[in-house]
């Protein structure tokens, strides 16, 4: 397995007057509520360990107050941790001095914010160019790059408008274009689509996935919306009260929720729409596949379920895109998974 792009190890964050002393209590197992009540400190994050693969989309999900926005701000060190380590491409972010950190932020990361955080006195173009502008990059060159991304997110013709003249969805496109123009390998998205209307949110999710197909950035995506997490996440981490409850691929989280919190979260999800055949297949182990119906491993259940109902096969054989048999799935198991 390749070395993870972003490695977060034993990360703790405590907000309050004397975090180091409060650390003792936390390490002794004092929970969030007790820490606040008895010691007047807020537990932001507790012992977070997370490896994020290069070129993948890592979703961090949790309700408000779960520490997800705090976590993402540790990756580019907008927040100083109380304890722990964050390494990116092998470099320890927490040990960088001011200038190293600035260069790191300029070259490696770009961030998209929940409430867009555009500069109201700058036009769309000036906002998009901002990251390059503060690096004193040649104006013409920067403009060329920015215009390309403005076009890519569908805002051509709006270059000279001010953010206030745009709808929320369009403003966030500017936010996205600004981040992409900066051209870091890591894209940090803090509830980037949460403030948008459902339809526009879906549009933006599609734009992100489409861009990701092309750009292969390492994306850290914060959301409180499970559907969004399942749709765009290669992996999902679930946070509760500053503690990571579970981390895994979407299907794993749906099929094997490990805590009650996660279980409650995933209860009402339409599994057929998020689980792919490969997530639930068994290994090929001499089963009789002569009458089995072939299914592509990357199909979602709801894409092949109609065919299963009409053809009523005993079993399914799962194939990769070159039609090689890679797995086996009995209809009995399939129906159990859908009923569970």
């Amino acid at each position: 397995m390749p070395e993870a792009k972003i490695k977060i190890k034993n990360l703790y964050k405590i907000f309050g007057k004397n975090p180091t002393s409060a650390m003792e209590h936390v390490k002794n197992g004092v929970g969030k509520d007790e820490l606040l009540e008895k010691h007047n400190h807020v537990l932001g994050l507790k012992d977070i360990n997370l490896d994020i693969e290069e070129k993948s989309i890592q979703v961090v999900m949790g309700l408000s107050g779960s520490g997800k926005s705090t976590l993402i701000r540790h990756i580019n060190r907008l927040i100083e941790p109380t304890d722990g380590s964050v390494t990116i491409d092998g470099a320890e972010v927490l040990k960088m001095n001011e200038e190293e950190l600035r260069n790191f932020r300029r070259s490696k990361t770009a961030m998209v914010f929940q409430r867009f955080a555009l500069l109201p006195h700058k036009t769309v173009l000036q906002n998009t160019i901002f990251g390059l502008h503060i690096q004193n990059i040649n104006e013409e060159e920067a403009k060329k790059k920015a215009l390309r991304w403005i076009e890519r997110v569908g805002l051509s013709g709006y270059e000279d408008k001010y953010p206030q003249h745009l709808s929320g969805g369009m403003q966030q496109r500017v936010g996205l274009a600004r981040a992409l123009t900066n051209d870091g390998d890591i894209l940090l998205m803090d509830e980037a689509f949460s403030a948008l209307d459902p339809l526009i949110r879906k549009d933006m999710q599609d734009i992100l996935l489409e861009l990701q197909d092309e750009l292969h950035k390492t994306v850290v995506f914060i959301t409180h919306d499970l559907d969004e997490a399942l749709k765009i996440g290669d992996r999902i981490a679930i946070l509760k009260d500053g503690i990571m409850d579970q981390e895994g691929i979407p299907a794993e989280i749906l099929l094997n929720p490990q805590t009650k919190y996660v279980k409650d979260f995933v209860e009402d999800v339409n599994r057929a729409r998020v689980i792919k055949a490969k997530h639930i297949m068994d290994k090929l182990n001499g089963q009789d596949i002569s009458k089995a119906m072939p299914v592509n491993q990357d199909e979602f259940i709801d894409r092949f379920i109609d065919k299963v109902i009409s053809e009523k096969p005993e079993d399914l054989v799962i194939q990769d895109k070159d039609k090689n048999n890679v797995g086996f799935l009995s209809t009995k198991k399939l129906s159990e998974i859908l009923k569970r």
Partner: protein, 296 residues
């Protein structure tokens, strides 16, 4: 014992007298010693003020009017305001108050420039450190509540009567709102915008010039507007220590009970104040129009 409750235990009279004498003598010595040096330090300021005054008085009135109209229109984009300004200055000229008005405008210009040069950096420094804010705020409180007559005394003792002491007292009186509002404006800047600047690797300086100052500009501008208004109010009081302009005839009218003259010059002050206020306010509104969501 009963004496203790009916009369406050005061400082002994002799000590009190001694204290006053010592402080006064000390300050007088200081003034004698340093008066000339301080005059020299402020000499460039005097030159600037005299330059503005000479320029404004020497400018033929039609040219002044044209420039004023142009500035008013540039500031406000309002023909109505231009016409009102024109009529107001016709009133001033017709009733023989032109020269005094020019003197007053000159001192207002100079003191506002000085207030901005000192006030803006002070406000910025205050916004950056809570400790600086804690130190500066009470000083501003004193500057705003101390009756101007009281700080006229040491200034006159130090520098005598004239333009510069007048200018300094005007600046002391007028600068607090600018400092306060600069501080407030910068502190109120949206934290998310700042965080975004941080996330993209902006330096402190870049954050100040690219984010904080532009976003605080409307508030800072409100501060400049108030500073102009307060400077106008103070110019009248400063006329007591020899500042030329609209204040002196008002003072004369008080001493000699010239009712008509007093009212006319009073009106001239009102006119200058209203014109400055309207133009600077509409300019302030115009520069932040793109924030309102209306199409420009």
């Amino acid at each position: 014992m009963s004496n203790f409750f009916t009369e406050f235990p005061e400082m002994p009279k002799a000590t009190y007298r001694g204290m006053k004498k010592a402080i006064d003598a000390g300050y007088k010595d200081f003034a004698r010693e340093w008066g000339d040096t301080i005059d020299a330090i402020f000499n460039p300021l005097l030159k600037l003020l005299v330059f503005f005054e000479d320029l404004l008085i020497a400018t033929p009135w039609p040219i002044f009017m044209i420039v004023l109209m142009a500035l008013t229109y540039w500031g406000s984009r309002s023909i109505k305001l231009c016409v009102s300004t024109f009529l107001a200055f016709v009133f001033i000229g017709y009733f023989q108050m032109w020269e005094e008005t020019m003197s007053t405008i000159a001192i207002i210009l100079t003191s506002v420039i000085m207030a901005v040069v000192i006030g803006l950096p002070t406000g910025i420094a205050m916004s950056r450190s809570d400790r600086t804010e804690k130190i500066v705020t009470p000083i501003l409180d004193v500057m705003q509540t101390m009756p101007p007559f009281v700080y006229l005394i040491p200034i006159v003792m130090l520098m005598g009567i004239g333009k510069i002491p007048g200018l300094i007292s005007v600046v002391i009186y007028a600068i607090p709102p600018l400092i306060r509002l600069t501080n407030l404006g910068i502190r109120e800047v949206d934290q998310e915008a700042l965080e975004a600047a941080d996330a993209f690797g902006a330096t402190k300086r870049q954050k100040l010039f690219e984010v904080q100052l532009p976003l605080a500009l409307p508030t800072i501008f409100a501060g400049i507007n108030q500073t102009i208004m307060m400077a106008l109010a103070m110019v009248i009081i400063a006329s007591m220590i020899g500042v030329k302009g609209l204040g002196q005839p008002v003072l004369q009218s008080i001493y000699n009970q010239y009712f008509t003259k007093g009212v006319l010059y009073g009106l001239a002050i009102v006119i200058v104040a209203i014109v400055f206020d309207r133009v600077s306010q509409s300019y302030g509104k115009r520069i932040q129009k793109h924030r309102s969501g209306k199409l420009i």
